[in-house]
């Protein structure tokens, strides 16, 4: 009998991560796309680091950082009563870092793909940068926002190395679907591992299908709403 808890946990983790990343990534991407600071390139490289870093490396350092035996973890524990190691909130924080480039990079590309005159025209009409962002820029990069959100969701869904390091695979708390597959294979229960895998495979395919459909929809002028 399949235990739906890991799948539900994976979906909850991916959904929470994608939603929070939308809030974090838009201002960050705006700054990266239009900012002129000396440190822009370094920040851009740091944001993209999780794309090339082995997930276990990220997970290892986060495990050290979140551990109550180290300064940061102790600070969170003592002063804010937050424990991130081996907890669901810890998985969310880790996933935010791990999936950040998958959300930020499409949005940066979206901003950079827009004519600079759109921002300037809005300013000449007396509008603030915030109004311009909300009413002009974001509606014109809808496909980038959807692509980023869907990719971040899908990427979080497939996490293994990082979540196993900082989550520990505690049933009902941090044992997500990818860990459940690994556990079932370790127990030579291939049938159950296959069911989890099939569901993740179908879900991932559906998500990618959605990304391509959305991109096709927004790049085809005939289908513009």
């Amino acid at each position: 009998m399949i235990d739906w808890q890991p799948l539900w946990l994976s979906l909850r983790l991916a959904g929470t991560t994608a939603l929070l990343l939308l809030v974090i990534a838009v201002p960050l991407a705006y700054w990266l796309a239009y900012g002129r600071g000396r440190w822009m390139i370094a920040v851009e490289a740091i944001v993209s680091l999780p794309m090339v870093l082995p997930p276990t490396v990220l997970g290892f350092y986060l495990l050290l950082a979140f551990s109550p035996s180290n300064a940061f973890g102790r600070f969170l524990d003592h002063y804010l009563d937050i424990r991130l190691v081996f907890t669901f909130p810890g998985l969310v924080v880790g996933s935010l870092i791990y999936s950040l480039p998958f959300m930020v990079n499409p949005i940066v590309s979206g901003f950079r793909g827009l004519s600079l005159h759109l921002r300037e025209a809005s300013r000449t009409l007396g509008k603030s940068d915030r109004t311009t962002l909300i009413h002009i820029l974001l509606p014109n990069i809808r496909s980038s926002l959807i692509t980023g959100a869907v990719l971040a969701f899908a990427h979080t869904l497939g996490e293994f190395g990082m979540v196993v390091m900082i989550g520990g695979g505690i049933p009902g708390q941090t044992r997500v679907a990818s860990i459940a597959i690994y556990d079932e294979v370790q127990s030579i229960n291939y049938s159950l591992a296959n069911r989890y895998a099939i569901i993740l495979l179908g879900l991932s395919f559906f998500i990618l299908l959605l990304v391509y459909f959305v991109n096709h929809h927004f790049t085809n002028p005939k289908t513009l709403p």
Partner: protein, 246 residues
């Protein structure tokens, strides 16, 4: 009868053009209600002048005073942000917002979203009523130009700045749209600065003109006086047959 308020523009800026560095050094004045053409060959600094006036490009040094209000004073470190300058700007590529319909473009430009009377008036004046629910992607170049003009006027600016707004249009369309510019200029009692490299446009539209060459003003006066007695050397490119010597 009192003279209408005078505005002044003085600015310098180093430009890095395809032909090497060029210093923009411009100083001129204009009176409220005039239609002033800024004329000259490509690369003379016309668009940069307009962008400095709008606050879109910073000047190295400068002083801009429009009808008693200081927009720029590099000595006193005053730089009024673009959104606080009372301008309407029509870009060469029109810069219409792809996500908004024609009516929404005009409504977005309103300083007070509740005062929509001018939107209906502009739609009617610019003959855009039938197009008001379409997005820019479905409009022709001439229609987009009318929308851009209407949008720039919708906020009730002191200064209307037109950056070669007709350069992408054919001659028939250009003539027709010149009528719209003149009509809007008179109907709304605007002060208009028009950047162009099309001499007939200057003669037809402008009350006065500035000739800009290599970043400097080489002549300033009424178009008829300015161009009748002057021999100009302007490079004629195949795509720019209108820039002929007068």
């Amino acid at each position: 009868m009192p003279h209408p308020p005078t505005s002044a523009f003085r600015a310098t800026k180093m430009l890095h053009t395809a032909r090497g560095p060029q210093r923009l050094d411009i100083d001129f004045q204009w009176q409220q209600g005039r239609l002033l053409a800024i004329y000259g060959p490509s690369g003379a600094g016309k668009t940069t002048l307009l962008r400095i006036l709008a606050g879109l490009t910073p000047a190295d040094t400068g002083l801009i005073e429009v009808e008693g209000e200081t927009w720029l004073d590099t000595v006193r470190r005053i730089h009024l942000p673009t959104r606080h300058r009372s301008i309407g700007f029509v870009f060469q590529d029109f810069a219409l917002f792809p996500n908004l319909t024609v009516r929404q473009q005009l409504e977005f430009a309103l300083p007070n979203p509740k005062e929509k009377a001018i939107v209906a008036e502009l739609l009617s004046l610019m003959e855009l009523n039938e197009l008001q629910h379409l997005r820019p992607g479905l409009l022709s170049g001439g229609q987009q130009q009318r929308v851009a003009l209407a949008r720039a006027i919708a906020r009730g600016p002191r200064l209307l700045l037109l950056d070669e707004p007709l350069s992408a249009l054919d001659d028939d369309m250009r003539n027709k749209l010149q009528d719209y510019i003149l009509m809007a200029h008179h109907h709304y009692h605007l002060t208009t600065l028009l950047v162009t490299h099309h001499l007939p446009e200057v003669i037809r539209l402008a009350d006065e003109a500035i000739l800009l060459e290599n970043g400097k003003i080489t002549a300033h006066g009424e178009p008829a006086d300015l161009f009748a007695g002057r021999t100009m050397t302007i490079t004629i490119s195949p795509g720019n047959p209108s820039a002929k010597n007068p």
